[in-house]
């Protein structure tokens, strides 16, 4: 928690400084009297800024579902509206709402084959709300079915993350022995998050469990 706040403050201060420096630059560099603004400065602004923004658009598209046509459709709507009505708020909201509804319509293909289970990205997670497969709430049966469907190898270690506010030892035991072991996933490793000093919990994962210190996993 402490390091998290420290990191947060560092980011706030650093971005503030960089941002303010950019805005103050012309006043510092050309604030004195009698200095004419060179021509190249204004042309630099006119050429370089759009190029940078274009690069940012490409970069940020990589973070979207760019293998599907949806971000491009939503992008076309945004640009079209902005050209037509010149209302930034309307263009942004319309594009975002369209993108969100296209995503939630389930028109998005999620790459489904051969998922890997690692310590950094455990596929199965036990939370106080239930069992989750890749952040989707599932029943124990479904979680096993999904593991098989996604081709998660049975002879490799399967990492199961246990939330630190989960405190039902029995459920963990039943999930391991009645579902995972029976389906052939006998090599399960239970990662139990331990949060800082304050959030110590007494619960121990079933056999073969490890406890890993809290590493800002909430920031996922």
């Amino acid at each position: 928690m402490k390091s998290e706040i420290l990191y947060m403050l560092c980011v706030v201060a650093a971005v503030f400084a960089a941002n303010y420096a950019l805005r103050a630059l012309p006043f510092v560099a050309f604030g004195g009297r009698g200095r004419e603004l060179p021509n190249w400065v204004s042309s630099l602004g006119a050429y370089v800024s759009p190029v940078i923004i274009a690069a940012l658009i490409v970069y940020s598209y990589a973070g979207l579902q760019w293998r599907t046509p949806w971000p491009f459709i939503a992008g076309a709507l945004t640009v079209g509206l902005q050209l037509w009505r010149r209302n930034p708020l309307m263009s942004i909201v319309a594009g975002t709402v369209l993108y969100m509804s296209l995503l939630s319509c389930g028109c998005v293909s999620v790459p489904s084959d051969n998922l890997k289970s690692t310590v950094a990205h455990p596929l199965v997670r036990v939370t106080r709300f239930g069992i989750k497969f890749q952040d989707k709430l599932v029943t124990p049966e479904e979680s096993v079915k999904l593991l098989v469907k996604h081709g998660v190898p049975k002879d490799r270690t399967l990492h199961v993350l246990v939330d630190d506010d989960f405190d039902n030892q029995r459920i963990l035991w039943v999930f391991k022995h009645n579902y995972l072991d029976r389906a052939g996933y006998t090599k399960s490793v239970w990662i139990h998050e331990r949060r800082g000093e304050s959030g110590k919990s007494d619960i121990k994962p079933p056999d073969g469990g490890v406890t890993i210190p809290y590493k800002g996993r909430m920031l996922r």
Partner: protein
């Protein structure tokens, strides 16, 4: 209005994708000091994976490079005004304020300065309000609802940042084309 709405989206996004508990504090600090919507959006995924501070600073310079050119048109107008007022006006030199301030350059000097200060202060408060309330709402919801459900519901909201870039780009190209004519 635009500021509050965009701020709300930014606040919801940063709380939903980041640390739900710390979000309101983070939202308040970043929105009141940065006053840059683009960075508020762009920082969310970077902070979520705890990117190095240097990376985020480089990103700021790239994302907000255009701000370095806004000051030039204000150089003459903002000469010899109180240091604090000038410092504040420079801090508030955003896309929207810049557009309003350049449009109001035909006003008398004294009036123009007052106008700039008032719209800066108003927009500042709208923006901080939007971001903080957005983050706070998600923070409160996060105590009652499963955070993953919130994450799933806000899925796709990150498009707002791309849309913001697209809008800025469209306007830049438009002004570029009209200057060339």
């Amino acid at each position: 209005m635009g500021y509050t709405t965009m701020g709300f989206v930014a606040g919801v996004l940063l709380a939903a994708k980041g640390n739900v508990v710390l979000a309101p504090l983070w939202a308040f600090l970043s929105s009141s000091l940065w006053i840059t919507g683009t960075m508020s959006f762009a920082a969310v995924p970077e902070v979520a994976v705890r990117a190095p501070v240097a990376t985020i600073v480089l990103m700021t310079i790239a994302v907000n490079f255009r701000y370095a050119f806004y000051g030039f048109s204000m150089l003459e107008r903002w000469k010899n005004i109180p240091v604090l007022q000038k410092a504040y006006l420079i801090l508030m030199l955003t896309d929207e304020n810049y557009a309003l301030e350049t449009a109001s350059q035909t006003m008398k000097r004294g009036l123009h300065l007052k106008y700039c200060t008032v719209i800066s202060a108003l927009n500042h408060s709208y923006w901080v309000l939007g971001v903080t309330v957005g983050a706070f709402v998600v923070c409160l919801l996060g105590m009652a609802i499963d955070p993953d459900v919130i994450r799933a519901r806000t899925n796709g909201m990150e498009f707002a940042m791309v849309a913001l870039f697209l809008v800025i780009f469209t306007d830049q190209i438009r002004s570029f084309v009209s200057h060339e004519k």
